[in-house]
């Protein structure tokens, strides 16, 4: 098992990846994507920081360029359920232009932005809220995670990312990739995503009922199989727990 911290500070422009740069990581990561004519950057709604004036921004309901009628219908239903059960806004922005331009993107929470090149045949599962932006032929589908996902405090939906292109995802805190081969436990609230031949189950961290209620450690996700898990170094539930008693009544 190896732990690899993600290096986000280097500008990259290879033939395979879109030219981009991630600065101010791992606490306040800012992503800049340099687009050529013909390239479209899809981003989570509300994440734009700045852009070249001549780029056009379209609001769409999904990452695909065109959506069929049933896709839209299903999309609206899922959007409504997501709104109720928590998760990302369903709308995305498409940035493109007839001349080269740049777009600066940032997530809402303090933390890191990680680049991942998605190749055909690969599948990356992300927690809802982790998707930030993508370029190329990337398909982001919502998967109903079931009760397991809700109890793991990941929300009802996970995102399934496939296709051919570049993907950027965000986390609360720094992102660490852990390559696993066998059982591995992750505290709920620290999971960003995973890929490979992995399944996970919920388990008690130990300590029985007292551990669950008083220890704050309650449930953990036990992963099994071969693959890679992305974890974040901070937990939003812990932040909320820390802030709540400090607020004025």
């Amino acid at each position: 098992m190896q732990m690899q911290p993600m290096a986000g500070g280097m500008p990259t422009a290879s033939a395979a990846s879109v030219a981009h740069e991630i600065t101010h990581g791992p606490s306040f990561a800012l992503l800049r994507v340099d687009l050529q004519p013909g390239q479209t950057l899809v981003t989570e709604a509300g994440s734009m920081v700045a852009r070249s004036s001549h780029l056009t921004m379209d609001v769409k309901m999904g990452t695909k360029k065109t959506l069929g009628f049933f896709d839209m219908l299903i999309g609206i239903v899922i959007a409504f359920v997501r709104k109720v059960m928590g998760g990302e806004s369903f709308f995305v922005n498409h940035f493109h232009g007839s001349a080269p331009g740049s777009v600066w993107i940032a997530p809402q929470m303090a933390g890191e932005v990680t680049h991942r090149r998605i190749n055909p045949g690969e599948t990356l599962i992300l927690s809802s809220g982790a998707y930030l932006a993508s370029v190329g032929d990337i398909d982001v589908k919502m998967k109903f995670g079931g009760l397991k996902s809700i109890l793991a405090r990941e929300g009802a939906f996970m995102l399934q990312v496939t296709g051919n292109g570049d993907l950027w995802f965000n986390s609360y805190g720094g992102t660490t990739a852990v390559d696993i081969n066998g059982p591995f436990m992750i505290d709920n609230g620290h999971l960003v995503g995973y890929e490979g031949q992995l399944q996970f189950n919920l388990k008690s961290a130990g300590g029985g009922m007292l551990g669950f209620m008083a220890g704050g450690e309650g449930l953990v996700c036990e992963f099994n199989g071969t693959g890679r898990v992305y974890i974040q170094s901070r937990n939003v539930n812990s932040l909320v727990g820390w802030l709540s008693p400090l607020l004025p009544q």
Binding site: A50, S52, N93
Partner: protein, 233 residues
């Protein structure tokens, strides 16, 4: 004086090394520590020679802008002194020299400056008000060598505007006064602006530098606030 910023970009702190007799003006509440020979005086001063009424008006405008009524002046007596300053929010800090053409700052980004920097609070118009950023911006001007420290929520990036640039209003920290700007919607149409989540953006024109922050405090507050238990009463 020498100003060094440490612990960037998330938990920045400024260390100001003052020569004997030198002064630095800082935002109220920014003090972390100082050497024992540094004395602090508190005032509402905005311009030298403004008088009590001038000071009161300046303080009132600052209060409406989200800054505090008072500014503190730190003086190193009888020897060199050191003052440590930090912003209330976790984030980045940068030291710049205010050019002769002036510098605009969003309200609450000012942290400290040499005493010869003059800060005016200006009403920015209702565009800024509706975006939740507050209706005010500060304009800094100075004659001669000076230093100004501003802070942000998130990491600070300096962009060079050469023509046109569009910036989300929640991500602005400061910009050269040589730029003209207009607050407006991002996409075409009000529905698109609402659905896109972008709200209001600032269209900049001209030549100059724009400092942006990599996080939007209002969006961050809404995100975290939405998860907090409702307040009683």
């Amino acid at each position: 004086m020498q100003i060094d910023i440490g612990y960037r970009p998330a938990h920045s702190m400024a260390r100001v090394a003052l020569n004997p007799g030198e002064q630095i003006l800082a935002e109220s509440g920014a003090l972390v520590g100082m050497s024992t020979n540094v004395s602090m005086t508190t005032g509402m001063q905005n311009k030298p020679g403004g008088g009590l009424l001038g000071g009161l008006m300046a303080g009132l405008k600052r209060a409406l802008a989200g800054e505090s009524w008072f500014r503190n002046t730190f003086t190193a007596n009888g020897g060199p002194g050191e003052v440590l300053l930090a912003h209330a929010m976790c984030g980045d800090m940068q030291v710049v020299e205010v050019p002769g053409t002036g510098l605009h700052l969003t309200s609450s980004s000012f942290i400290a400056s040499t005493p010869n920097v003059n800060i005016e609070t200006r009403l920015q118009g209702f565009g800024g008000f509706f975006s939740g950023e507050g209706a005010f911006v500060m304009q800094a001007s100075a004659q001669g060598p000076n230093q100004l420290v501003f802070g942000s929520f998130g990491g600070i990036t300096c962009l060079n505007c050469d023509g046109n640039l569009v910036i989300d209003t929640g991500h602005l920290v400061a910009w050269d006064s040589t730029l003209t700007y207009k607050v407006g919607k991002s996409g075409g149409g009000w529905i698109a602006s609402f659905l896109s989540g972008e709200g209001l953006v600032c269209h900049f024109q001209g030549q100059g530098r724009i400092w942006i922050q990599s996080r939007n405090p209002i969006a961050y507050g809404q995100y975290v606030g939405g998860m907090l238990p409702p307040r009683k009463g």
